[in-house]
Amino acid sequence: MTARFFFVQLVALLWGGSAWAEKPTLSEAGTLLGRVHVSELSTSLRLTVDLSGDVPQNTYVTARFQNNRPQQRISGGDWQVWNEQSDSLVDNEFLSNEDGTLTFDLVAQDLTQNFLPIIFTVSYRTENGFKSGYLVIDP
């Protein structure tokens, strides 16, 4: 786990859980889930997506900064350096909800003191490959 991204104070952020009337879906090409100014964030960052019948085998959360230090979330909520290779992604073991959606927990930290923008990518692997979407936190 590196530096600044996780040294910041733990502030309960809650954003995103009800941001969409209709839950977005992920795609093989990668879906833009939104851009948010960091000052608009207030509590924990969580994303719920519509699976559209997909059956995820593994789930992943990664974060890219505007530099060479991409990271990935590992099960339990800690983060570690990631080499941007698909085969080194660590399963976060998020489970599907009963209504056919999937909720990704991203972070529960104050993001304002980070090097922005941060691009969070959520993805899952099905038997046919990856589907992903990304959320941009702008300065």
Partner: protein, 624 residues
Amino acid sequence: MRRCIANIIGATVSFFWATGVSGQSLTVADVDQIVSQAVAEARAQVADDAVIAVVDRVGNVLAVYAIDPNNIPDVTITSGRGIPAGNGLEGLTLPITPLATISKAVTGAYLSSSGNAFTSRTASQIIQENFNPGEFGQPSGPLFGVQFSQLPCSDLTRFGEVLGGGPRRSPLGLSADPGGLPLYKNGEVVGGIGVLADGVYGLDLSVADFDRDLDELIAVAGQQGYEPPENIKGHRIAVEGKLFRYTDVDARFLSTSGSAATINQDSYIAVPGYTPAGRRAGQQYGAEASGITPDSGIDVPGLDAFVLSDGFGNNRYAPRDGVAPAPAAGGITQDEARTIIMEALGVAFRARAQIRRPLGSHAQVTVSIVDAEANILAIARTPDAPIFGTDVSLQKARTAAFASRPTTADELRSVDAIELIPGVLTIPALGTYADAVQAFIGPTALADGIAFADRSGGNLSRPFYPDGINGNTNGPLSKPFEVWSPFNTGFQLDLVLFDIVARFDGSPPPPQGCTGLPQSAAAPGPMPTRLANGLQIFPGSVPIFRGDQLIGGIGVSGDGIDQDDMISFLGLHNAGEILNTGIGNAPPELRADTLEVSGVNLRFVNCPFSPFLDSREQAVCGGK
């Protein structure tokens, strides 16, 4: 205590001597003074709708002042060659005057350093079809194409209204419209001023005369008291035996002699995506907050190198492993990236500078390394390298890697036409350029893995082929000369035109950067597109190979183009010798200079005569 103070002073002095960076910056009082001087001259010239921008050295916009904020006129983009609208940016009249002034100010700041002071008029001189402009039969300008750098869609440059680390983006790229000047304090460049008062964002088609340009006159007034030392002004520096043009007017032409006018604080306007209303102080270059700092000694050990910083003490682009290909598949390793960048900087520190004073200075450049899919592996620079070379070196590295892929033609064909202004301006499908190159060179061009340096691709991007022979047909990546201009270059602009126009509202860049080209496919999520900060078409890069496998690119920018070529080519070669891992330049038989096109071989690199300060070596790139 006395010894402690002495040590601090000693350390400060040695830092200055080592880096050429002494910690100057623009204060709020400086900004007010500069603007008030410009306003006084604007009023004296009855330029009551002038707009004035001031930026710091790393591109933070410190102020945009509209004399009449309720009456900011539109600006017309034109080269003055009579090319109608529907050809790139030519002929468009748009409500973007504040953005144009910012671009002019950024140009003055970014092209300059403690060893050279250039202006947007200098830029005009070095981006046209002949150097000098108007001298038929001469090759194109040495920085042909640099105007489309620092783009607002770049994945490298910083963006937003918040004052912070640079380098920052420029809304229209770099400007060739006279009226963009650098600002200096105690011999150190601290920013730039840009003025637009004549309603035209253009260029100077001829250096055979001296214009009395309204924008430039007002900018010169603003610059009074913040001028560069006389001996580093552009007109004291020569390339190919030709002096650069600094300005066409100077203080003798001012109506106000640098006196100040009363300014209205409400006239400091907000420009979304660049600055809030009001004015502010600039960042001190070299300090953490500027985004460019001395290396800690860890990432580029043993060299007086600077790096890009994230504002928290971390190197943004510390050397790392390649992503595509990964080291396990033959890609660049972290150690190789570090060795290449150190060897390239080592060549720069030995190289006789082309564009700097005093004579005998070493070259000042930025070096970027990417993998084969445009992922950034390392960036580092010499201390006083002009800021523009940061983004440009990355453009060059990516351009060399992209053009050398065996999939380049197919990837170009994946980008469809865009009707940008219905009925007026359509951006062609990029496949038309792949078709043109294959018709020009042969059916396997851009599909056979031939190694293209930026110089090679640049040969194909000029409005005359071969370069400089007026009346010849255009290269396949250029528009025909009848409609060509620095505002309508061809492939280079068509690749990013949509991205530029889409950012006129100040919106942030897409996370994958500019262009509709494919993204790196190493992993899920937005990855950089192949040319994520745009294409560059003047020399200073080579692709990186391991054996006959393309694994990346190295780009260099900041000094003369032959020096940039040499630093990239020799830096990579020397690193290969040290590493002995098979990494190095492309095998000679794969290089683009093996291609004969219309009776002329393309060029790969061109290294300068007697290039080093510490030896009499000649032909230093020969046989490598």
